[in-house]
């Protein structure tokens, strides 16, 4: 731990009750000592922040205004990359696809809240169910994407075989521009369900029983108890899940790149991050890709701030 060793060795402080001046001096010394230790303890993450966040960000802002292939000279072009971005139909398509994937968020949250409510009841095998629903969460996304790519196979895939059982002829999911995005959404919901269910379950079980008892005494219906007690009480978890899911969803990349390596049929699955990655590391348009990446970061920031605003406006508390 050489990097965190503080500049000054700790000293034992001696208190002199008679001499207030000496005491103050000792106190100052003690504070200086404490400050030094505190600074040393915080040093690593602060260094990381400066070197791998602040510096790259600053560099990004400059690089986004250059024409640059990542190796050669950077030619300053002002806001050309941003102008190009606004006119780039692929950018808008990728942005649209990324936003489209967010449909999965309310669907996933609704299912997981329902599951959490069911699992909060006295049902046999609750622990077993919880485990089964949670296993996709811990499975690696790369493995899951490979598995689902094969499961979506039009002829031999598990999904269409299952649909055939109920007499539905499934589409060729990942090869069909209409169904490629829904296919990815279904997979994402399947993958994330266990996590949101778990958080909701903890929140549902933390609701004081007395609230339900009082509501039942007042003759509130089950639906009313849900909308007036459960839903507001789990609101912090909903907020947390919506924020983290939107941030996570805006960075969707792995499954796109594995399941549809060329951006999908008619470019129907390419996400923003995938497009940025493709431009930067396949087409070596580093300047342009940096501009897009910055725009992505700003969009995520704006959406997050709006959500915090809305959340504060709706701040809810019982009692």
């Amino acid at each position: 731990m050489a990097t965190t060793a503080p500049p000054a060795a700790p000293t034992t402080t001696s208190w002199s009750k008679e001499d207030a001046k000496a005491a103050r001096k000792a106190n100052r010394k003690r504070h200086r000592n404490e400050n030094a230790w505190a600074a040393a303890f915080m040093a690593a993450p602060v260094i990381g922040w400066v070197a791998f966040l602040l510096f790259p960000m600053g560099f990004s802002i400059y690089a986004s205004m250059t024409n640059w292939n990542g190796l050669g000279n950077m030619t300053f072009v002002g806001f050309d990359n941003y102008v190009r971005l606004v006119q780039d139909p692929y950018f808008w398509k990728a942005l649209w696809n990324t936003v489209f994937y967010m449909i999965g968020i309310p669907i996933g949250l609704a299912i997981s809240l329902a599951l959490a409510l069911a699992l909060s009841r006295k049902i046999r095998g609750r622990t077993f169910f919880r485990t089964v629903y949670y296993i996709p969460v811990i499975s690696s996304l790369a493995a899951v994407a490979i598995l689902w790519q094969w499961a979506y196979n039009g002829d031999f895939g598990l999904v269409n075989q299952a649909l055939a059982l109920v007499g539905i002829e499934g589409p060729n999911w990942l090869m069909d521009p209409t169904w490629s995005k829904p296919a990815l959404i279904i997979m994402a919901v399947w993958k994330g369900l266990g996590y949101s269910t778990l958080l909701y379950l903890a929140a549902v079980q933390a609701v004081p029983r007395s609230l339900y008892e009082a509501a039942a005494l007042d003759g509130a219906s089950g639906w009313k108890r849900f909308t007036k007690i459960t839903w507001p009480m789990v609101q912090p978890v909903t907020f947390f899940l919506v924020v983290t899911n939107i941030i996570g969803g805006s960075m969707i990349f792995t499954e796109i790149n594995i399941m549809t390596p060329t951006g999908g049929p008619s470019w129907s699955t390419a996400s923003l991050v995938w497009y940025v990655w493709n431009q930067a590391f396949r087409n070596l348009q580093m300047g342009y890709a940096t501009a897009m990446a910055l725009v992505l970061g700003i969009l995520v920031l704006i959406v997050t701030i709006i959500q915090f605003r809305i959340n504060r406006a709706n701040d809810f508390s019982i009692d």
Binding site: H31, W49, F52, L115, F281, T290
Partner: protein, 317 residues
């Protein structure tokens, strides 16, 4: 900066709601979410029976793809295309797993993934806890500004940073090594710092002060008092972090080109491309099974702790 300050304030507001009161009693009493609750509103057995059926169907849907992955990994190359699909392979081909270890880069992938995830999470946890301790309990002018500054990092998505980071690391010749995957993240995890700081704020200051008066150095206070105290919170964050690093895909594909230097996720993704053309699906699925199994075993063994701590993490938000 004012934006960051606002979001941080809003974040801590969201925390105050749920965490402040439940969190304070954490060290003594942790809520057991497995506990059955009694009485209160009556539950109808009929409704519970229907729910059990619905949950069972759901469980089948959830488990089917993974069961199918295992099943496919044990089939012959042609058995994969059997219609209707066979769930129990006939015959069982165990040899595929031998082929995975002998003919592919899965073994080196596991080694590389372990190097990255263990070094990052173990050392990174020490750095994070030290910072959280200092942020929660030690005096330093402007430490709240430092905390907000670190928090602002959570707002910046990795894809925004990946290009400049890549250029930085390529300038110093770290491309195709594991270092770019380790160095930027080993210095501390903001989310972990955030939760540990939150946790430590519920520990009375008098504990630390008493130790100080006894003449213990801050270094010693950290190792002998703070670290054992925050162990449950660390465990929760550690596991989540380990899984995130183990399962990471975007950063490794940027940096790792040589097959034997790649992490497991990149190895199996590349196998997916390479062997799909040879229609060797059992091999691909076997490699995927292998990539899932270590985490699955850890999960099943520590299930109770993991689920409780994740639920706890959620309630702290």
């Amino acid at each position: 900066m004012s934006l960051n300050a606002q979001t941080a304030r809003a974040a801590s507001g969201a925390i105050r709601d749920t965490a402040a009161d439940t969190g304070r009693q954490l060290p003594q009493q942790r809520p057991n979410i497995f506990q059955r609750r009694k009485g209160a509103t009556q539950e109808s057995p009929a409704v519970n029976a229907i729910l059990t059926i619905v949950l069972s169907i759901g469980a089948i849907v959830m488990a089917a793809p993974l069961v199918w992955m295992v099943s496919t990994s044990l089939k012959t190359k042609d058995g994969v295309y059997a219609l209707p699909p066979e769930w129990i392979p006939d015959p069982f081909v165990w040899d595929t797993y031998a082929r995975v270890f002998n003919d592919t880069y899965v073994l080196s992938g596991i080694k590389n993934s372990l190097i990255v995830s263990l070094s990052v999470t173990i050392i990174g946890t020490v750095f994070s806890s030290l910072a959280a301790f200092a942020l929660a309990k030690l005096r330093l002018p402007g430490k709240n500004a430092i905390f907000i500054m670190l928090l602002s990092g959570m707002m910046v998505p990795f894809p925004t940073l990946m290009i400049p980071q890549f250029v930085m690391f390529s300038r110093i010749g770290w491309v195709d090594t594991l270092l770019p995957l380790i160095v930027p993240v080993i210095l501390g995890n903001v989310i972990m710092i955030f939760f540990l700081r939150q946790y430590l704020q519920n520990v009375p200051d008098s504990l630390v002060e008493a130790a100080q008066i006894d003449g213990a150095s801050y270094w010693k206070i950290f190792w002998t008092m703070i670290l054992p105290l925050i162990r449950p919170a660390i465990a929760a964050q550690f596991i989540l972090w380990f899984m995130a690093v183990w399962n990471d895909y975007l950063a490794p594909i940027l940096y790792l080109n040589t097959p034997e230097r790649q992490t497991l996720q990149v190895v199996i993704a590349n196998m997916n491309v390479q062997y799909a053309t040879q229609r060797d699906y059992p091999l691909i699925m076997a490699a995927s099974v292998i990539s899932v199994i270590p985490i699955l075993v850890v999960f099943l063994v520590f299930q109770r702790q993991i689920i409780e701590s994740i639920a706890l993490t959620g309630s702290k938000t």
